[in-house]
């Protein structure tokens, strides 16, 4: 039987607010345990929550970015359960009236086409603390610094059909939230976490199969691997005549498998009800419009513009718009050198190669966009040859000069375009190479084109690469042909 995979994602994004969603405690990462857990975060008797404006604004910006409906009223509910990292015994979340309604996210597929993934809704909630299981005399330690950090939970429709689509969706969400600047998107620090719902159905069947939920899959790569494992597991089960159990599973990246979280609390009853300490959040149109007006250009729009207006290939447009930093760097280079294609080639070629070798992010590039742009300019106005340009780039990378011009000057890499000087070098080479000249003369005219390479090489060598290769070619041909 042929199977189709059906995937839905719940992505938790930590919002980049300074303070927590319901308290004035700092959200900074890495502080000493419980030093950023204030009375409200600890759920001390008598404390009350007050909602952070920035968390609301960020959630709305995300909604606008995915063309979602922004309901006028949203409501916070309590999700009740006991866990040591959940100080109040409930998580303040949004169950029935989320802040962001239905929207959609466009993902790019490998064949260059795009697909729209529907987002069911996105809601605000508070993060829990962390339980540390290393040994405290057989006890677990609880750090509540993270408790109360604002989260935006983005719930997709089950619109994805492969692990690749799921990864592309997660990347698209990542790029939207980082473009908006509403999250640092740092998956290693847990700023973005993901639950994956996977089910299988025979191709052509309309109903969904029973799904398994894989919790806390925290990298793009793991999403693909977890889904791949889960697909295989479920198909095997189904083909052996078994059934998939609706359950929560955990992905183990070390063993590359998912396994059931056989907790006793499979049937949890969260007793959701509206939080009586918070009032309905009402967003008036003017507020939403104000946020809409301040939205930056988003990845999908940028990709389209790079392709349409700048004439880049679909692939280049996709790569260069994938992150806000990359796009900003590329556009700055383009601004300086004035040529989008050249800028694209350099950013994707020489620069990306160098960054990858060092494992650096674009923001940490030792070569600034201005430096690179000026370098490209010098290639375009033929001040230096392409070969020399690579040398200049390396020097900029190593910090051997402030600008391309300074390095060209210092290293004497300027192209020689003075035909007198070039002619002198050619004459020298011809007189130094009587045997090659004789061969050239004896050759059939249609073979001579190939043989000229030797002379070009010699002249370039003599000029230490600074002679303009077109000019050298042209003059050599004239002089050699004159000898025939």
């Amino acid at each position: 039987m042929e199977w189709e995979t059906v995937i839905g994602l719940e992505v938790h994004v930590q919002l980049a607010t300074r303070s927590k969603i319901f308290s004035g405690a700092s959200t900074a990462f890495g502080a000493a345990p419980n030093s950023q857990a204030c009375a409200v975060d600890l759920g001390l008797p008598g404390v009350l929550p007050v909602l952070n404006e920035a968390a609301v604004a960020m959630a709305v910006q995300f909604g606008l970015a995915i063309h979602a409906e922004i309901p006028e009223i949203s409501v916070f509910d309590r999700k009740n359960y006991f866990y040591p990292d959940l100080p109040k015994g409930y998580q303040t979340s949004q169950m029935h009236h989320p802040i962001v309604g239905a929207g959609e996210v466009e993902i790019g597929l490998d064949d260059g086409s795009t697909k729209r993934i529907r987002v069911h809704h996105a809601h605000l909630e508070e993060d829990a603390g962390k339980s540390l299981h290393e040994d405290f005399h057989g006890m677990t330690g609880v750090d509540l610094n993270r408790a109360g950090t604002p989260l935006l939970e983005i719930v997709s429709e089950p619109d994805m059909r492969s692990a690749k689509e799921a990864a592309a969706y997660l990347k698209a969400i990542h790029s939207i939230v980082t473009y908006l600047g509403i999250s640092d998107g740092n998956m290693a620090e847990g700023s973005m976490r993901c639950d994956v719902n996977v089910s299988m159905r025979p191709i052509g069947q309309a109903e969904f199969g029973t799904r398994a939920e894989i919790k806390n899959v925290n990298s793009f790569r793991f999403v693909e691997r977890a889904i791949a494992f889960e697909m295989e597991r479920q198909v095997e089960l189904l083909e052996d005549g078994g059934t998939v159990v609706q359950e929560t599973r955990l992905f183990d990246p070390d063993r590359d498998e998912t396994r059931s979280m056989r907790t006793k609390e499979q049937a949890n009853d969260y007793r959701y009800f509206p939080c009586p300490d918070l009032l309905p959040v009402v967003l008036d149109q003017a507020y939403v419009d104000h946020l809409r007006a301040a939205l930056p250009e988003l990845p999908a729009d940028k990709r389209a513009r790079f392709q349409g207006e700048l004439g880049l290939s679909a692939y280049d447009a996709g790569v260069l718009s994938a992150s806000r930093e990359m796009a900003e760097y590329f556009e700055a280079v383009k601004e300086v050198c004035g040529d989008a294609k050249q800028a694209a080639n350099w950013v994707q070629g020489e620069l990306s190669g160098a960054l990858n070798r060092k494992g650096l992010a674009i923001v940490d590039s030792p070569v600034s966009a201005r430096q690179l742009g000026e370098l490209i300019q010098r290639v375009m106005d033929e001040t230096i040859s392409g070969k020399a340009a690579k040398e200049v780039f390396q020097a900029l990378w190593n910090g051997q000069g402030e600008s391309a011009d300074a390095i060209i000057e210092a290293k004497g890499l300027k192209q020689v375009t003075d035909s007198g000087a070039i002619e002198a070098m050619i004459d020298q080479v011809i007189s130094d190479s009587p045997a090659q000249v004789a061969q050239y003369r004896d050759a059939e005219p249609d073979k001579r084109g190939k043989m000229i390479g030797y002379f070009v090489g010699q002249v370039m060598k003599a000029s230490r690469g600074t002679a303009n290769p077109q000019q050298v070619n042209q003059l050599l041909k004239e002089k050699l042909d004159a000898l025939c």
Binding site: P45, N80, R271, P276, D277
Partner: protein, 491 residues
């Protein structure tokens, strides 16, 4: 000294008859002498009190005294008080020294008041008799066989017994008004949102409200002026100016329209209570008020709706007491679930457990619509009843409780205990303000019986009007000047 109202104390302090320190010392001695049997305090804090009294005297000497500078008070043990045990009447918090002040406490400190200690209460404010305290029941100063009412029973008893001139209470379903009535004092429950709930340990968040308990409406007005107002730390507190409650006390009552809810006067109301209320209404008529009957058609549903909403909110509010970050923790827990279950089983008393169980059950899957959602719909109908009535009349009058204080141990069945809050509970569902003022005694013996309270209700934010109406009654009657024998005793 101990018999004076706050406004009388202010004059005496200004005149230099005695200092704040002498006043505090006298009252602390009285507490020491007389509270053993009453049990109205959980904690007495003489060191903090005398330090605050000294600061008040110094301020007065500098000419910086406000109307509440140096005024001794007691605070219900539901308000977090920095550096002082804040127990909520529960074993769960017997070891809890609050690391912060409730907004009400902060405001009272800023006004220069002198807190003598924390008063006894039904555990987590759940109860109508003060018999649900981990620290034992409080006794009614008028008759130690009787309950003082609840849940702010300690505050009411302490004021009635002359241990403090005023105290802070909280009211979720009548917890200020009913004990005020049972103890013969004046108690005001403000509009929901008028006073900050920050630092007041939550019972039912959408119903809880703090308020003053004192001997006169005038003293309640003074205190309300100090504690009311918007608090940035409480999302449900209202950003609305605080009127000068004292200034409005003197307004004449000519043309005041009083409504008597038809549904309140009937079965279950003690005849002596009814007679006292009708007598009080006559006093108002003599002051120029007119009286008519009004209807609150959904009255019967108030207690059922309340016993869905309040326990549901409570079940969630009390989840934070889990033995992890503060409060009682059982010995040698086997595992996490054992830690939770035993800490909570040991820390909470019977009534609290009952309400947690009811609330947990009604919120669980499959029951939410039939209970919680239904109760919230009924809540809207109940509020509408009051809003409709206030289209016709300025205030509503009724007893605060269908009977005078009952005997300790007399109400064993929880439902019969709940039902006696019939006149107070709907007020919290609607969020309107209410005040209870002394209006007579049972037993036909003015000094021998048990006090009866008149409840006066107004529309949202009508506190100034309620205080005015209560004050004018106290200008025309002297029920509020009657004192139990214990308050007459000299040191």
């Amino acid at each position: 000294m101990h018999d004076k109202t706050l406004s009388e104390l202010a004059s005496a302090l200004d005149a230099g008859e005695f200092s704040s320190r002498e006043l505090a010392e006298t009252l602390l001695t009285r507490i020491d002498r007389f509270d053993g049997n009453l049990n109205s305090f959980i904690s007495v804090t003489p060191d903090q009190a005398l330090a605050a009294a000294d600061r008040a005297d110094a301020a007065r000497a500098r000419g910086e005294a406000g109307p509440l500078t140096g005024m001794p008070l007691a605070i219900k043990d539901l308000f977090c008080t920095e550096g002082v045990k804040t127990s909520a009447g529960s074993r769960m918090l017997d070891n809890f020294i609050s690391p912060y002040d409730a907004t009400v406490v902060e405001k009272l400190k800023a006004a220069g008041t002198v807190s003598l200690g924390k008063t006894n209460m039904d555990e987590f404010a759940m109860g109508s008799s003060n018999e649900n305290s981990f620290y034992g029941p409080v006794k009614n100063p008028w008759d130690t066989e009787a309950v003082p009412g609840g849940s702010s029973g300690g505050s009411a008893a302490a004021v009635a017994a002359g241990l403090v001139p005023a105290a802070m209470g909280t009211d979720t379903g009548g917890s200020i008004r009913q004990p005020a009535a049972f103890c013969g004092i004046t108690g005001l429950k403000p509009t929901y949102g008028r006073v900050s709930r920050y630092g007041m340990i939550a019972f039912a968040s959408s119903l809880d409200q703090a308020g003053p308990m004192a001997r006169t409406a005038e003293d309640c007005a003074l205190l309300l002026g100090a504690i009311a107002g918007h608090d940035l730390r409480d999302s449900t507190s209202v950003a609305r100016g605080v009127p000068d409650y004292i200034e409005e006390l003197a307004a004449p009552l000519n043309g005041l329209k009083i409504g008597l809810p038809r549904e309140y006067f009937g079965d279950g109301m003690d005849p002596e209570v009814e007679a006292a209320v009708r007598e009080a209404v006559k006093v108002y008529e003599s002051l120029g008020a007119t009286v008519r009957e009004v209807s609150l058609p959904h009255t019967h549903y108030a207690i059922p709706a309340y016993y869905v909403i309040a326990p549901a909110e409570a079940s969630s509010n009390l989840s934070r007491f889990d033995g992890v970050r503060f409060g009682h923790r059982c010995d040698n827990p086997e595992d996490l679930i054992d830690l939770y279950k035993r800490s909570r089983a040991e820390g909470f008393g019977e009534e609290v457990k009952r309400r947690i169980l009811i609330g947990t059950h009604t919120l669980s899957e499959g029951f939410f619509d039939a209970y919680y959602k239904k109760a919230q719909q009924v809540r809207r109908l109940i509020r509408q009843d009051f809003l409709d009535a206030f289209e016709e009349v300025d205030v509503l009058m009724s007893p605060a409780s269908p009977t005078p204080a009952f005997d300790l141990g007399a109400r064993k069945d929880p439902v019969s205990m709940y039902l006696q809050d019939i006149y107070t509970i709907a007020v919290n569902l609607a969020g309107i303000p209410g005040i209870s003022v002394p209006a007579g005694f049972s037993g036909g013996r003015p000094m021998g019986g048990r006090p009866i309270g008149l409840q006066i209700l107004g529309t949202h934010f009508a506190e100034a009007r309620l205080l005015n109406v209560a004050h004018q009654f106290q200008q025309a009657t002297d029920w509020h000047r009657r004192r139990p024998a214990i308050a007459e005793e000299t040191l």
